[in-house]
């Protein structure tokens, strides 16, 4: 089991979640955060922090987001995705993107 960041994070990247992670398992890409499944301890503390409710326990992922488990794992291993442990500003056009769905094609690796 792990926790998974769903598509809702794409192009917003609020980063509130990284502040509370006790094991520093978030990795940062250009317009998305991912969870390293080998580090996550399923504490669930990050879930209520996300302003767009992007984070789910793997088993609770909505049907249309289940592909994100594999994508999280894959992105976490990319060498250019670095550990992020301190909150920073969201992406400049987060307001415009936060309520959109089907953002997967926007994801930059």
């Amino acid at each position: 089991m792990t926790h998974v960041v769903s598509e809702a994070c794409i192009r917003c990247k609020y980063t509130d979640c990284v502040d509370v992670c006790p094991v520093d398992c978030f990795r940062e890409g250009p317009n998305f955060l991912t969870i390293d499944p080998d580090e996550c301890i399923d504490c669930a503390v990050c879930i209520p922090e996300c302003p767009v409710s992007a984070i789910y326990a793997e088993e609770d992922l909505p049907k249309d987001q289940q592909h994100m488990t594999a994508i999280n794992a894959e992105l976490a291993k990319l060498p250019n995705w670095k550990s992020i442990t301190k909150r920073k500003d969201p992406l400049p056009d987060h307001e415009e993107w936060k309520d959109r769905t089907g953002k997967l094609s926007e994801l930059i690796r």
Binding site: V20, P22, V23, V45, R87
Partner: protein, 362 residues
């Protein structure tokens, strides 16, 4: 188990030490008390209640048996009250640093601030870890903790005539400035020579009410604001003389100081628990579901920090674990004494322990 250098004061002897004063740790104290096992409890936070109080004190909780709704803060208060007949020693703002088995089987537990416990049993109710202050990573800075670098106002001592820099961009930093200014109002002699707030830019993540307080403090001249990201420290004669900054314009800046207070809030850290040599799985303590004992006899793990097949991180599961762990500890604490299952409705002995009147036969 890590070895600890022995500080001087005599350790506090206790049948049980509970690490973590969250809901589960507090209920562990209660369950131990019912089995006539007095305990001490330590927590990194300055208050009891753990994660629910630190992260979401006013959010309603709906899944505690028999309590249709309560907040995290109310739950913590109720659990503390429930445990109070057993008069636990409660030690706050302290973290456990080492655990070492003694020749007689007891555990010598080293706690921050030079405190030590000699415990027959240890209950780790550490949740997601100790809530510790977020720091800034600057080369050479940690060496000044306690002399020029502080995370709590109480530790910073006398600020009179000193140049004080508070670093932070949220509610915590504003509260810190507020407290310093209120202390100055009460006692003008305690005023810092200069009070500065440093944050990477002139925008703060705080409630409207806190932002208004900050605006007033700045408008009144009590607080000076400098925009910049800390990048290093300058030292003179072995003391920090200023903070090096990178301004939002990308140019270097400095902020002179005598005292640096970092007020960026707290974040949970699993920390030293992972280094005690206990069996772990995905950074959680492996326990058996009969005793909730770790791989070390006499060391139990309850609540969110443990793992076992089917584990669910729910309050109700943590509470159940406390009961079974207390029963498992009883033969270690009271060898040879039979462990009887008793009910708080009927048991004279439990009424005695709880300090409540024993109802006569009607």
């Amino acid at each position: 188990m890590t070895a600890s250098a022995a500080p001087s004061p005599l350790p506090i002897e206790t049948p049980a030490l509970v690490v973590g004063a969250g809901p589960v740790g507090l209920f562990q104290v209660f369950q131990l008390g019912l089995l006539d096992i007095p305990s001490h409890v330590v927590d990194a936070l300055p208050h009891v209640g753990g994660q629910p109080v630190e992260l979401y004190p006013d959010k309603p909780i709906y899944d505690v048996p028999g309590i249709p709704m309560c907040t995290g803060r109310e739950l913590a208060e109720a659990l503390l009250k429930q445990a109070s007949p057993f008069k636990p020693g409660i030690h706050l703002s302290r973290t456990v640093e080492s655990v070492e088995r003694q020749a007689d089987g007891r555990l010598l537990v080293g706690v921050s601030g030079g405190m030590r416990f000699l415990a027959r049993t240890l209950f780790i109710a550490g949740g997601v870890g100790a809530f510790l202050p977020r720091t800034i990573n600057l080369e050479g800075l940690p060496a000044f903790e306690g002399t020029q670098l502080f995370y709590r106002l109480e530790d910073a001592g006398d600020l009179a005539g000193r140049r004080v820099v508070v670093v932070g961009g949220g509610e915590e930093a504003i509260d810190m400035l507020d407290r310093i200014c209120r202390a100055t109002e009460r006692n003008p002699g305690s005023a810092p020579a200069h009070l500065a707030l440093v944050h990477r830019r002139d925008a703060f993540n705080a409630s409207d009410e806190a932002l208004e307080r900050l605006r007033l403090l700045r408008a009144g001249g009590a607080v000076h604001f400098t925009a910049g990201m800390p990048t290093g420290i300058d030292t003179t004669d072995g003391l920090i003389s200023s903070l090096q900054l990178l301004t939002p314009e990308g140019t270097p800046g400095t902020e002179p100081l005598d005292v640096l207070i970092i007020a960026q809030g707290l974040s949970p850290r699993l920390g030293p628990i992972t280094q005690w040599g206990l069996a772990m799985e995905r950074k959680q303590l492996v326990v058996d579901t009969e005793h909730f004992q770790t791989s070390e006899p006499g060391i139990f793990a309850v609540g969110d920090i443990n793992t076992y097949p089917g584990k669910k991180k729910l309050l109700v599961c943590g509470f159940h674990e406390c009961a079974l762990a207390a029963y498992a500890a009883a033969p270690i604490v009271h060898p040879g004494r039979p462990v009887q299952l008793q009910y708080t409705t009927t048991s004279t002995r439990l009424h005695q322990l709880l300090g409540v009147p024993h109802p006569g036969r009607g």
